[in-house]
Symmetry: C2
Subunit: 312 residues, 2 copies
């Protein structure tokens, strides 16, 4: 079967590190063109400065991956859908919820495939955790997602600008797993958002959730960008039947009662493109706004606290 | 035809001022019971301390209006839908977007009528403004919604608490009209949110919108709670064909090129209950999350500024 010919829009770090090598090694996709406002080229395929130039020059390319920064993602995705393209979106799928709702409606109206990716969901232990909670029930779940912003976003001032998400940039990865594995929808009940005195986005956030689950499990999240002792990307779980579990390494490993039951290399983007191929074959979209909605909800109901100024 | 028998949950100011007198005068509804945690009674009908007591004692009542504060609205609406009731929600319909999405899904699953009311939309000039913009096109629209918080929320400290919305409490009324009359969906492009140094919610907000309208009209909103010279609740409109219009008195009046074309008394709640009767007859829900989504979007992308402390 012929490979899907895809154009990659935006040649920043996530395209270089993940999308391009994964497409290159894929049995299902083939890179047909790139769009780079900076005029970068890649792998010998045609490079265009704007999506409009791509669509004019190579109208036969029906699929694009939009990996630009989130503030321009909506405009580019809208243009692609309007031009009749199927679209894969990096996370977060848009800067605002209204933009995401618009893309969803436009994809449906145009009968295009829209895939809003949440890469953390494609880690190898996520489905095992989901099955565990479905079978054993949930008493409590505590998300601890702590890393050093100076290590993971060195000098990237945009994370501190309005709309830059702050600690919710990694936190939304945790929330994308959380909303996938939980048996019932979680609601933000309260939140504490800690802002450096000289910055516009939080450096730390503590969330307390309620749930539509009648067993009323205790659900909390602790996101912190001030961790200097190594990363912690895990969820501590107590099941209703009395087991202790931990989903760790960002979703790549699961242990139950001290025994590791799943641990495998993280191949998030390989699974993303495999899933996208399935969506294209089935002509089906996959757009879940739940992680972005929880971040917006935390901003709506959160208590703001101020801490020391942050400098690199 | 027999009137719809309805129970009112929550006997605060909005129930006393609007819902109860409007139901009392309605040809379509009849008050059957009330629920008041404070044990208040009303109009000689049975009064219950909790919704559960109402549902046990009078299972034949199939319709409730939920007029409690927004922080408990979701739990009460969820309980009502789960008990098989049709539900009218005061604005805002929930404290968070995830709660609203949950109620929408539950109403659909239970085949119940859910009506998320936005009272400002039921003002007499709103539909005329919508028609004007559809016919004449839009060049610019500027929302100015300014009032004195000390006059309109005297001593109500909850408006300043996390989740209390601040100036978005009146602002969401403007946004509910804006999203109704605009020919295309507006997106929050940027926002400036001004917080008193001793408070958790904004006292003023300036929003700049983008739009899916290819004519790219200039769209802005200016919400301010520090107005001491009388209320301004209006939208200044320039149409694409060169006319100047003003939707004013909170949506009760419209003038075009200096001539008042619509002006009538505001009978928001009479129209709300008439619309609800129509929804009940058609077994159809009416839930539009767009106004709440725009507020959440403004919180997501807004720049926070600090101003003088606010005291009553």
């Amino acid at each position: 079967m012929a490979k899907h010919r895809i154009a990659v829009i935006g040649l920043g770090k996530i395209s270089q590190d993940q999308h391009l090598p994964v497409i290159d090694a894929s049995g299902e996709f083939e890179l047909a063109a790139v769009v780079s406002t900076r005029g970068l080229s890649q792998g010998g395929v045609p490079s265009f400065r704007t999506p409009a130039e791509l669509y004019r020059a190579m109208p036969e390319i029906g699929i694009v991956a939009v990996n630009t920064p989130p503030d321009v993602r909506h405009a580019i995705a809208r243009e692609a859908l309007a031009a009749g393209k199927d679209v894969l979106l990096e996370k977060p799928p848009a800067a605002t919820l209204t933009e995401l709702a618009d893309l969803e409606a436009l994809a449906e109206a145009k009968k295009r495939v829209l895939f809003a990716t949440w890469h953390s969901r494609f880690n190898p232990a996520v489905e095992a955790a989901r099955t565990l909670l479905a079978e054993a029930g949930l008493r409590s779940l505590r998300i601890e997602w702590r890393e050093n912003v100076k290590k993971w976003h060195p000098g990237q001032d945009w994370v501190w600008e309005p709309g830059g998400f702050g600690v919710f940039d990694p936190g939304i990865n945790a929330l994308s797993i959380f909303t996938r594995i939980l048996p019932a929808i979680p609601f933000v009940r309260s939140a504490e958002l800690t802002y450096p005195s000289n910055r516009q986005t939080p450096i730390a956030a503590k969330l307390v959730f309620a749930s539509a689950d009648p067993a009323a499990p205790a659900l909390t999240a602790d996101f912190d960008w001030r961790e200097t002792g190594g990363e912690t990307w895990h969820m501590l779980i107590e099941t209703a039947d009395g087991r202790s579990a931990r989903l760790f390494k960002g979703g790549a490993a699961l242990e139950v009662d001290g025994r590791v039951t799943v641990e495998a290399p993280s191949e998030e983007y390989q699974h993303i493109y495999r899933h996208f191929a399935g969506l294209l074959d089935a002509r089906r979209s996959d757009v879940d706004g739940a992680p972005l909605r929880l971040v917006a909800d935390a901003m709506l109901v959160g208590r703001r606290l101020t801490t020391d100024a942050f400098d690199w």
